[in-house]
């Protein structure tokens, strides 16, 4: 009990720091666990002594905490939960309409990093199996950290967000399969094949349940919260038992259990049930995992640095190239690459398994854990706007794309042009519509890939930063009818306004959230700004016309 209370206390500290500094939570949990480790034994003993000294009379049987390995229990339960929750979210739907890009980026990143990790292992003169473990440990990126970051920054549904989410899901699946292969690789090919057949069998069962059984049980059973929760947990237990019986790692069972509940809307109902349990067990799991980390010997530190450099130097450019080839803008591709540049919670699970089964030493486990902590920690800083901007300007590939598209054409002489500040998500669509009606348009864009797309669609463009007054002038701002902003970001629109300077052309700004909109209203005094949002109006019209009438009839 005292141990559990201490763990929760440390977790509370971690969430506080995470919230105050907007720092990823998982590395903080791990760090808190590391700090807890030397303290916990001593404090538990000390508190116990105090409890006994103070009273000692009220001691229920089996209450003696000393010597009870609560860590194992938490680790086992927590692991099952973390993996189960990942399985629950596995759905091709996550990738949106970017399935091909997801497949390419996910596979290439996984393969290249695994190979690099393996090469590093061999260079360190580790045995081949250890090198493979190392490769697998660095190959995937962190679902928990990245999804949280995307959600916090409302980027889940940008094209980059979709890509990243899909890649993460794919990589988790690959790690699970990789783990099975690795655990058996020393026993020969036949064993590996048997393991894969086992995974396939459990997967098949899970698919069958997801498709035919769970929708009936979960949605039609009218089970009530308690029974539904226990049913879900029993599914988890049964799958883990099946994995155990087939000689597969228990995480495979937990993952497939999640998968069996991942069809819509079953997954939504289940997610609602286990959200808080998940928060609880994630905290417990990573704290206890953190308490297993030891400081690796100094001679291994260099290795850690090599792995970190590998993540930083290989992932972003690699993802950027592949994603650009698959049609994402330079910016979205680079952002995705930066977001994926860390090792995953699954790396920790792989390392934990390897350590517990005696395949790697505690020091190597700790090294992988520390690399994970550091690389997870840098994620929000890497994905900052300033970093992305700078790197795009530095990227030779982006410049190559841009050069390939050409300068575009100057519009100084054209009269009455509609200027687009960036292509955005749908600038090309609007531009085409206007062009069909015989209007003059010009899109100012600096993203090489997007320029290329504009060129192939035959839309006039000008290469350059749309928020720069020179570029705007070169685009013919003085004679333009209006400027269309394609960004919903307040700061970009403000920059655009500044760049337009005294040229009082109407600026059309798409809808953004109301608070930002109100702040933006101020500019109306100095500039004719039109905020293009009538969603509420249209809805209220509908509400008044149709809905209230039919509702009255219905009554």
């Amino acid at each position: 009990m005292i141990g559990l209370a201490l763990i929760l206390f440390a977790a509370a500290m971690a969430v506080t720091v995470s919230k105050a500094l907007r720092f990823p939570l998982i590395p903080l949990y791990l760090l808190a666990g590391m700090l807890l480790q030397p303290v916990v034994g001593g404090v538990v003993e000390w508190l116990e002594t105090i409890v006994v000294l103070a009273g000692g009379s009220y001691t229920a049987p089996g209450e003696e905490m000393a010597g009870f390995d609560y860590q194992t229990a938490i680790l086992e339960l927590g692991l099952a939960f973390v993996v189960f929750a990942v399985g629950l979210e596995l759905s091709p739907r996550r990738a949106g309409n970017r399935k091909k890009a997801v497949l390419w980026v996910g596979l290439v990143q996984f393969a290249v990093l695994a190979a690099a990790g393996f090469a590093v292992g061999i260079y360190w003169r580790e045995t081949v199996p250890v090198a493979i473990f190392l490769g697998l440990a660095v190959a995937a990126s962190s679902t928990l950290v990245v999804i949280r970051h995307l959600k916090m920054n409302q980027k889940m549904f940008t094209s980059g967000g979709r890509l990243v989410t899909g890649v993460l899901v794919l990589q988790d699946l690959l790690v699970i399969i990789g783990l099975v292969v690795l655990m058996r690789v020393e026993s020969g090919v036949a064993e590996v094949l048997a393991g894969l057949v086992g995974v396939f069998a459990v997967g098949l069962l899970s698919w069958f349940l997801a498709r035919y059984v769970m929708p009936i049980v979960v949605l039609r059973g009218k089970l009530g919260e308690e029974l539904l929760l226990l049913t879900v947990l029993t599914v988890l237990s049964v799958f883990m038992a099946a994995a155990f019986w087939l000689g597969l790692p228990l995480v495979v069972g937990a993952f497939m259990a999640g998968l069996s509940l991942s069809s819509f809307p079953v997954n939504g109902v289940v997610r609602g049930l286990i959200n808080s349990m998940n928060d609880f067990f994630v905290a417990l799991f990573f704290l206890v995992l953190g308490s297993l980390i030891v400081v690796p010997p100094v001679e291994m530190w260099g290795g850690g640095v090599v792995l970190l450099v590998l993540l930083l130097v290989v992932t972003p450019p690699l993802v950027k190239v592949v994603a650009e080839l698959k049609g994402l803008s330079s910016r979205a591709s680079l952002e995705s690459g930066l977001l994926l540049a860390q090792t995953s919670e699954f790396s920790l699970i792989v390392a934990l398994y390897a350590m517990l089964h005696g395949k790697i030493e505690a020091e190597l486990f700790s090294l992988i854990a520390l690399v994970t902590i550091i690389s997870m920690s840098w994620t929000p800083f890497l994905a900052r706007e300033g970093v992305v901007r700078t790197l795009i300007h530095l990227s030779p590939l982006s410049r190559w794309w841009a050069r390939r598209a050409g300068e575009g054409r100057l519009h100084e002489e054209a009269d009455g042009v509609v200027l687009f500040a960036g292509m955005g998500e749908a600038g090309d669509r609007l531009a085409r519509t206007l062009m069909k009606k015989g209007r003059e348009v010009l899109v100012i864009e600096e993203d090489g890939v997007l320029l290329h797309q504009l060129k192939s669609q035959g839309i006039p463009f000008l290469r350059g930063d749309p928020n720069n007054s020179n570029t705007l002038c070169r685009g013919g701002l003085t004679k333009a009818v209006a400027v269309v902003s394609t960004s919903v970001r307040e700061e970009e629109n403000r920059a655009l306004l500044l760049a337009m300077g005294k040229e009082r052309k109407p600026l059309l700004v798409p809808v953004f959230d109301r608070e930002a909109g109100q702040r933006f209203e101020v500019y109306r005094h100095i500039h004719p700004v039109v905020i293009t949002d009538r969603t509420t109006e249209l809805f209220l019209q509908w509400f008044d016309d149709v809905a209230s009438e039919s509702l009255v009839e219905g009554k």
Binding site: K19, G55, E226, V238, G272, K437
Partner: protein, 552 residues
């Protein structure tokens, strides 16, 4: 490590628990009874599961979370008005039942020391069982529920005193029986009892001060992040539980007070919803392990005694309560429903018996009698509590309650369900604007968001929480809403809401913020899609056309 017994045991416990719970559903047997039966099968009968420390920890956490939830649900104001009746009825019942039980046991031919043990074991009712059942009925905050919980807390204090006393007795018995040692033991016992009272006073004061001056500020800072609030409150709960243990009080009391101190926060309801599933999991394990630990070998030989003692608890305890509560001016139905809640013995009784065995005061035979009485009374009283309304009507028809001469009728419960409202999920710019416009149109608007800050200053009724939680959707009573509107930009949540509304046939309006999700939302029969993206584009197009025309 991963192939060890703990997960296997836990798996079997869950599996057996669920199988029996399904069976119980078909046979209309309360789930907790079925959990205990599952436990008896796993433990005493087939010997598949043995108690181990990890399972004990889970069971213990279950009790703590249950009482924490009760505290969260009852604010200080709501518990204060039942303080008097709880105190009188609690103490009165303990005295009467103990005395009556002692007489019955002596008449049944038990020795004096055995009778004392049995009588004390019969006296305590199970807080966990009753709270779980009240939770199941959703009536914890009804008047009778609050009185019952008050009584249980008083009983809990008495338990602590008895345990303290017994521990003193046990240590005295274990040592050399010289007069000096005995006297010293008595002194320590008296001092311990005194300390328990002081501790209780201190803890109560600390929690009150914390809830008023220490907690509100940091919690309102954390309110925007439900995860932070959740982890904080669990840490707070366990901190107070530790403090309670340190002060020689029970974990239950600590957990209850921790909950009570957070019940004043504006989002205590959301916290409740978050702790609830966690509690359900842990407490199910608790009930199964309760069965696992039962022991029946000697119970069959003493079947007569088991039945008589069970009847004493099932009828005698409610009788004494009716007597006390009706004297305190509560109406007949409230008194009756409160009284039936105490018709079982507690898990404390088992612990108490274990302590007796450990102290060498009683034998295993008494333990199995207590187990059997426990199983019978918990099972029967579960029915009595769940069906207390029809039971009351039945007793009234047979004029069984007439001798108590209680005031007739029912004490009023204030609770109103929402109907015909427009629920708006997500109080972002879009949500707030729609809310304001609909309020102007005279609609009853319910705003839902997990950030309390976003619900402020709108002048609409607010509900804090995540609509992915089924219990929140139930509390919002979406099924009877006039319309549900989601302004959220979260695909998963919008889809699950769309599904929910489709299932219950309520019109659903949704923010289709991204083109890719429109087909799914249409498949789920959403009534209206708000498409800011397309609307914006169209509006831009129209404006630009107008400008061109003006120029010409």
């Amino acid at each position: 490590m991963f192939e060890e017994t703990f997960l296997r045991y836990l798996g079997m416990i869950l599996f057996a628990g669920v199988v029996f719970a399904y069976l119980g559903r078909a046979l209309k047997v309360p789930s907790l009874v079925m959990y205990m039966i599952a436990g008896i099968l796993l433990g005493p009968i087939f010997g598949l599961v043995e108690m181990e420390e990890a399972l004990e920890l889970i069971a213990e956490v279950g009790i703590i979370l249950l009482l924490f939830l009760v505290g969260l649900e009852l604010s200080l104001d709501r518990i204060r008005d039942v303080g008097k009746v709880a105190l009188f009825a609690g103490i009165g019942q303990v005295l009467f039942t103990a005395a009556g039980g002692l007489v019955v046991c002596l008449l049944l031919g038990f020795s004096m020391i055995q009778s004392v043990f049995l009588a004390v074991a019969l006296t305590f009712s199970s807080t966990v069982v009753v709270v779980k059942l009240l939770d199941l009925k959703g009536e914890i905050d009804h008047l009778y529920g609050r009185i019952a919980i008050g009584i249980f807390l008083v009983q809990d204090l008495v338990v602590i005193l008895v345990m303290t006393f017994l521990a003193g007795l046990g240590s005295a018995a274990g040592e050399e029986e010289s007069a000096v040692v005995e006297e010293a033991a008595w002194w320590t016992t008296a001092a311990d009892i005194g300390l328990a009272f002081v501790g209780m006073g201190f803890l109560l004061a600390f929690v009150l001060v914390a809830s008023k001056y220490i907690l509100p500020k940091p919690f309102s800072w954390a309110a925007r992040s439900p995860e932070t609030v959740f982890i904080w409150s669990l840490a707070w709960c366990f901190l107070i539980v530790l403090l309670a243990k340190f002060l020689n009080l029970s974990e239950e009391i600590g957990a209850f007070l921790a909950g009570l101190s957070l019940a004043q926060l504006p989002y205590h309801k959301d916290l409740e919803r978050r702790v609830h599933p966690l509690m359900n999991f842990f407490i199910a394990v608790f009930f199964v392990t309760l069965g696992v630990q039962m022991e029946f070998t000697a119970a069959f030989e003493n079947l007569g005694a088991v039945l008589i003692l069970s009847l004493f608890v099932l009828i005698g305890n409610p009788f004494i309560f009716m007597l006390i509560i009706t004297r305190m001016k509560y109406k007949e139905k409230t008194a009756f429903k409160t009284s039936v809640t105490v018709a079982q013995i507690s898990e404390f009784s088992f612990i108490f018996a274990y302590m007796g065995i450990a102290a060498g005061l009683i034998g295993l035979d008494l333990m199995s009698i207590i187990s059997a009485v426990g199983l019978i009374t918990i099972a029967v009283s579960a029915y009595m509590i769940l069906y207390s309304d029809p039971l009351y009507e039945w007793c009234r028809k047979l004029r069984l309650l007439a001798p108590f001469k209680a005031r007739q009728g029912e004490d009023r419960e204030e609770k109103e369900k929402r109907v015909g409202h427009v629920a708006i999920v997500g109080m972002n710019g879009l949500g707030r604007r729609i809310a304001e416009a609909l309020v102007e149109r005279g609609e009853r608007v319910l705003g839902i968001d997990n950030d309390p800050g976003k619900l402020e200053g709108l002048g609409v009724e607010g509900l804090i929480g995540n609509v992915e939680d089924l219990s929140l959707r139930e509390e919002a009573n979406l099924d009877s809403a006039k319309m549900v509107i989601s302004a959220l930009q979260i695909e998963d949540t919008n889809l699950i809401l769309a599904w929910h509304c489709q299932e219950c046939g309520v019109p659903f309006v949704v923010n289709a913020f991204d083109l890719s999700i429109i087909p799914d939302l249409l498949d789920l029969n959403s009534s209206y899609l708000m498409t800011p993206f397309i609307d914006g584009l169209k509006m831009q197009e129209e404006i630009l056309e107008k400008m061109e025309d003006l120029r010409k």
